[in-house]
């Protein structure tokens, strides 16, 4: 098989097509939900909605991507919190602060930024991969997660896992030739980009709705969100 041709295709036309599908799909998702109609909130406030929203985001972007603010949540969901937190942290750091990834952003946006040293990124990637495996095992054994996990949840996990594992293999030249690994990495990223708008991985967009609403609801009642 001509892996060079596959690489050229997957990092070229296919990547740009996937990006377009991603953006068009997310735009569609956004408008199809926000155009269903909103009811105005006519309830007189007791506290400040704005303050509630601000606190809600401060809590939402805590040390972990999510932080166990409520008593007992960490001890009862240790895997979800620790592995889930590390996974999100690792994912975002690698995507934005890995040198190779920053260069892709630079080619798309026209500007770049300082990045972290490769060993740090490398370790974080390994941690992220382990965290994802832990989350998968937890999804199999926790009775609530078993109940609420269908084909969609498992597909999402695998589709996010593939770019992570192929990326790690690419930087370490594991088992296959470099161009093969790089192609697989690009193919899995393209698959993920196309898949996101059709799946719950899009929660990163709706996060801003639910978090804002939660903050506003608490804020108007003058309680902590």
């Amino acid at each position: 098989m001509d892996w060079y041709a596959i690489l050229e295709f997957s990092r070229g036309p296919m990547f740009y097509t996937a990006l377009l599908v991603f953006m068009a799909g997310m735009t569609y998702r956004l408008f199809s939900t926000i155009l269903l109609g909103w009811q105005a909130d006519r309830v007189p406030n007791r506290g400040s909605k704005l303050r509630g929203v601000a606190v809600s985001y401060l809590k939402g972007f805590g040390i972990w991507p999510f932080f166990p603010w409520v008593k007992g949540t960490l001890s009862r969901n240790p895997v979800t919190y620790l592995a889930g937190g590390l996974f999100h942290l690792g994912l975002f750091v690698v995507i934005f602060l890995g040198t190779a990834h920053m260069l892709v952003w630079k080619s798309l946006l026209g500007f770049g930024w300082p990045t972290l040293a490769l060993p740090i990124i490398d370790w974080l990637s390994a941690v992220t991969i382990v965290a994802m495996i832990a989350l998968a095992i937890n999804r199999r054994i926790n009775p609530v997660l078993r109940l609420i996990s269908g084909p969609a949840e498992w597909t999402n996990l695998i589709i996010v896992f593939l770019p992570m594992i192929t990326g790690y293999m690419t930087t370490h030249h594991l088992w296959f030739r470099y161009e093969t690994l790089f192609s697989l990495h690009m193919l899995s990223i393209n698959l993920m980009l196309i898949w996101i708008p059709f799946s719950r991985i899009s929660h990163f967009m709706f996060y801003f709705f639910s978090r804002t609403f939660h903050g506003a609801q608490a804020g108007k009642r003058a309680v902590a969100p």
Partner: protein, 428 residues
Amino acid sequence: MSTQDVTRAPVAKTAVDTFVKTTGSWVATQLEACTRCGICAQACHFYEATGNPEFAPVWKVELLRRAYEQRFTPPGKLKVALGLDKPVTDRDIQHWSTIVYEACTLCNKCAMVCPMGIQLGPLIHEVREAMAASQVVPADLVTAIRKQEELGSPLGVTEEMWEERIEWIADEWEVDIPIDVRGAETLVVFTSIEVMKFPENVAAIARILNAAGEKWTISTPGREVVNFGVFEGNPERTKLFMARLFDAARSLGVRRLVVTECGHAYDLLRWTAHNMTDVPVEITHIVAVIDDLLKKGRIKLQAGKYDSLGPIAFHDACKIQRRGGHIQEPRNILRILAPNSFREISPNREESICCGGGGGVIAIQEADPLRYKVFELKMRQMAAAGTKTITMTCANCRLQFTDGIKHFGLDVQVKGLAAMVADALIEE
């Protein structure tokens, strides 16, 4: 489970139509934000007490998710076509009716732990709306709703019974209770739980308001603050029962309406009513009124009156504290009444564990074993704080506490906060 009219068909279609009708952007964005992480489960006292994964809040809104995805989203339609997701069936509706009415008090603690901040309580209420529309409501709840419709109170308290009872309370506690006074400033609406089961609370609130020189009244047509339309999830009945209060307020010409110790009614009247109907008056809760009277010096209390009782704890009601906002006021009052013996139970405030009797659960006999199981969580909290006295500002919680304490034979005393205040009044 026993439900009203189980043979009525097609249940699922009505339910899904209701889901879809109520699914605006608000519901859609909340459902889309869910990552299926399952953290909400541990926040649910019903899950915590039983370990039943079906009681996880995320699973309680499962039908709403299915209806929304399958009607509105291309992947949802595709999933059904491929057999990867199940359409909502009549059996599902029956099954979930038990879960959302008997194993959920709509306390909304799950929203506090959700990393995405999804408002699970209100979403579960949406599920109840669909159940109500398909008339798959627990029979006991239906009975109470009928009583409220026909007699004016879910406990079956008729106008005559109510009048007699109020007269008796006024006599027994030697307190003036103004009835149907036009031109009063404040309309106070009690629950029939207070009137029938905790009459000392009615007397206490009357004594406090009289001592403060408040121009207040109660109303015969607007005598019941409880609203079983909320528990059922029926917006029409909810509005009907609210209208009785607002009409009374209008005809008396009052400036404000004070909700006494009723959690869901406070949540409804203060935080939802304006989005359903015209609210002619300011709405507040009795605990906020008492705190305000103290701050303004209109009533005075004997400081430290209850310090001799030993550790006194406060139970935060989900709809008056977490969802109502009156977290600080009862603590201000208790710091005067029992500065040395007031103890916090843990967790508390916004994170408080619901008593287990709210959301109509206490009215459903079938749910009794579950309700007692959930109450064990409160027992553990009280034992950990070493408290023998617990006070609260919600009559429904109090009903659950008194019943639970009797059921388990505990040596714990339940006190209404208003009664504690009234007994500590320095009357000039």
